[in-house]
């Protein structure tokens, strides 16, 4: 079993998320596709921003976010 699968299995078990061995194969493929972009998200400088603007789900125009 790859290191990724071992770590993923541990994390899923810890989180109480049910899975099977076949799921880990697909999960590894999904992670290969998406994880590089996720790392970019982790590393990007985002600057300061009011937290409320970041979680507002309304998608309201920026003028509202600035007010």
């Amino acid at each position: 079993m790859s290191d990724f699968k071992v770590q993923a299995a541990g994390a899923l078990t810890l989180a109480g998320v049910p899975f099977n061995d076949g799921d880990l194969d697909v999960l590894e493929l999904v992670a290969q596709v998406f994880e590089p972009a996720m790392r970019a998200l982790d590393d990007a400088p985002l600057g300061e921003l009011p937290f409320e603007a970041g979680v507002d789900p309304s998608g309201a125009p920026a003028a509202q976010a600035r007010s």
């Binding site: 999960l27 596709v33 996720m38 998200l41 985002l46 921003l49």
Partner: protein, 440 residues
């Protein structure tokens, strides 16, 4: 004699209004057309002739009086709760907000369309009903997740369909199936009885063969007129990075040419943080969609859907916070962009629809599974809540359709359709009038 489903949606409505087309005969002909063409395409997963005829009998006067429409399996009907691309009735059978808007406009729900399983994919392959197939080449994907809605409209089983779009799910299949697919502004429609209520990214969508048909359907959904205006003076912003990068050459050329042919004033724009839209969108959307899936259903889902759900479950909370900060940045960036232009434009899909048995996009960077490139092209409208549309702009050398995507400011759906009509006229309407040969 012309089959009534070969007529545009607006012509069906006009003929009924003029007393020249019997809506009962139209409904019967539509159900027969679905029966005739649906087998190889798997676009429609349920019809209910008695319910449809009852709806017709009670249909009030309205802009869509007596006109059949199909819906994605994300909207509940009084006699059928939404299944969201599963084998289970996940929603209660109720008159959802979208159903009520259609009913009040006089429309008749003729069927429910296939979709990508729980809306968590952009190909249309994963479905308990089998993959929906592209009417232009049934060996190829339709796109998704509103897979069956786009295929049904393209195959002329129905003149208009209602889809849903959480990460491009109306625009992406619109592009790959050669129909107009429009996502509305977030919150523009009632969300009750709609799985999109689970996500801050979701909005219903309208699919039609051209902009005028889509406008008529959208007017019914929004319950307000969307008067057409001249689009000649619209200014279109071109955001090269990342949306015009790593594209199939034929797609890039056709989309560029369509914009030039329409005569829009084009200007290059930068959109700060746009490259982080994909991961930011994937983190939050994965969490929102994943949280809405009942645990009892998870075990029955396709392996790829389960893999995506597990990936979502493994995302650290800090990453979600960063994703939300990117979202706020993008909202400001797009508002700044719309201070300088009226529309943003780029290709709907990076490449034409891939084969169902080998779903890889051939891109300059190499072969790629479709979801990541598709999300990259589509997610900005979902993150920011603005409306977007895919307009057919031609065909690839493979014979598959190509779509151009346009985004407009909050609430400006009509502007999207104005621009789409201008693009259609500039091409002599040849892309929207083209019809695939019936699959057999």
């Amino acid at each position: 004699m012309t089959h009534p489903q070969d007529l545009p949606l607006r012509e069906q409505a006009r003929l009924i209004s003029a007393g020249e087309l019997d809506p009962g005969q139209l409904l019967d002909a539509t159900l027969a057309r679905i029966e005739e063409r649906n087998g190889p395409l798997r676009a429609v997963v349920a019809t209910f002739p008695e319910r449809s005829h009852a709806m017709l009998a009670a249909a009030p006067p309205g802009p869509l009086h007596g006109v059949p429409i199909t819906l994605k399996d994300m909207f509940s009907l009084p006699w059928r709760g939404y299944h969201n691309g599963t084998r289970h009735e996940l929603g209660a059978p109720v008159a959802s907000g979208v159903y009520r808007r259609l009913r009040d406009a006089g429309a008749v729900v003729a069927g429910v369309d296939n979709q990508h399983e729980i809306g968590m994919g952009t190909t249309g392959i994963a479905s308990p009903h089998g993959a929906a197939r592209n009417p232009w080449n049934p060996e190829h994907c339709t796109g998704g997740s509103s897979s069956g809605s786009a295929a049904a409209v393209a195959a002329r089983m129905i003149g208009g369909a209602v889809g849903s779009d959480s990460g491009g799910s109306t625009r992406l299949p619109g592009g790959w199936c050669g129909v107009v697919g429009l996502k509305v502004t977030y919150g523009a429609l009632p969300y009750d009885g709609y799985t999109g209520a689970n996500s801050s990214f979701s909005g219903p969508g309208a699919l039609g063969r051209d902009a005028a048909d889509t406008r008529l359907l959208l007017e019914a959904l929004l319950a307000r007129p969307l008067p057409a205006r001249d689009a000649a003076s619209l200014r279109v912003g071109i955001v090269r990075r990342p949306y015009w990068e790593d594209l199939d050459a034929g797609v890039e050329t056709r989309c560029s040419d369509a914009l030039a042919e329409a005569g829009f004033a084009l200007s290059a724009l930068e959109l700060p943080f746009a490259e982080l839209g994909s991961p930011a969108g994937a983190v939050r959307l994965g969490a929102e969609l994943g949280a809405a899936v009942p645990p009892a259903v998870v075990g029955e889902l396709e392996p790829i859907t389960r893999g995506l759900l597990l990936f979502g479950a493994l995302q650290p909370a800090q990453r979600l916070v960063r994703a939300d900060r990117v979202r706020a940045r993008l909202r400001r960036a797009i508002a700044d962009a719309f201070a300088k232009c009226d529309l943003l434009a780029w290709p709907t899909n990076s490449a034409p629809a891939p084969r169902i048995d080998a779903p890889l996009l051939e891109l300059p960077s190499g072969p790629a599974l479709p979801d990541a490139p598709n999300i990259r092209q589509a997610i900005l409208a979902n993150i920011t809540g603005v409306p977007g549309v895919s307009v057919p702009v031609g065909f690839h050398s493979s014979g598959l359709p190509i779509g151009l995507q346009l985004l407009a400011p909050w609430g400006e759906e009509s502007r999207l359709l104005d621009a789409a009509e201008r693009i259609e006229v500039a091409s002599g309407e040849r892309w929207v009038k083209a019809a695939p040969a019936p699959a057999g």
